[in-house]
Symmetry: C2
């Protein structure tokens, strides 16, 4: 190959793209496998339980949950169905809008969320934290944010008790 052949996208950018695809898969697979081996449900359940547990009185409208989690409407609908089936949440009537409903996390749901966070945080530490200094993590955030353009909300909740994914 000749000298200084310009390509669009550059080989550097293409390599970054490939890494972004592959590494995420590997790390996520590893984390999900850890949770699975510990007998926990999928990460999406955790995210939903976390959102619900953070809501003022432990209850939210499905449409609200949908916006927080950035997943489609039907996906929310079915996720809630599963949580309710497992006794992790209950549906409540919405008196001011009879089309809608409220979903409230149960005590069992709160407990599961806390237990999952133990395993989940350990997995994050094992597969990410142990391989990256805090300074590098900040650099990685900065670079990734440039691609996504505003991932702001992600900041707020982390401090407390859990990290949402997706």
């Amino acid at each position: 190959m000749g000298v200084a052949m310009k390509r669009r996208p550059s080989s550097e950018v293409t390599a970054a793209w490939i890494r972004l695809m592959r590494i995420r898969s590997r790390v996520l697979d590893a984390v999900e496998l850890d949770l699975k081996k510990a007998g926990f449900p999928p990460l999406a359940w955790y995210d939903a339980l976390l959102e619900l547990s953070r809501a003022p009185s432990g209850e939210m409208r499905p449409v609200e949950l949908e916006k927080q989690m950035l997943i489609p409407q039907y996906s929310t609908s079915r996720l809630i169905e599963r949580l309710v089936d497992e006794g992790l949440a209950v549906r409540r009537e919405c008196k001011i809008d009879k089309r809608g409903q409220f979903v409230e996390i149960t005590e069992a749901g709160r407990e599961l969320q806390k237990k999952m966070w133990s395993a989940y945080s350990a997995a994050i530490e094992k597969h990410v934290g142990s391989k990256l200094s805090d300074a590098d993590a900040v650099r990685l955030c900065g670079l990734l944010d440039r691609l996504g353009c505003s991932c702001d909300e992600a900041e707020a909740g982390v401090a407390r008790d859990g990290a949402p994914a997706r």
Copy 2:
């Protein structure tokens, strides 16, 4: 919150984890949407066609393809089935091992791969390249590689004519 409270994983690491999950989804969704709008099949098809087109005589054993693409056996089996159904590849008998077979890319398959690379590379440039300098792309690669530990093979092929994902 008090001074210098240590958490494991640190908030920096957790934030990086969240970014890695979210940004990858956004960028991938954007790229796949571009391809879909242009009427192309899923990216996995591209990856398979690329691997096949790179093989010495345009043919590979399914088990080989499986190792290259890092996807499970049954997934490879079905992907090949779809490519064959669409006339993008053909099955060839394997005389030295009657359990196995060869899969050969067709002319139509080669053409599709090239056309997809036009759209695909444009999408990568649009959603990644335009937001990151080459130097930043290199930094991002470096940080991501620390998480994945060896993504070596990714390097080799990029120069030519396409980038595999996943």
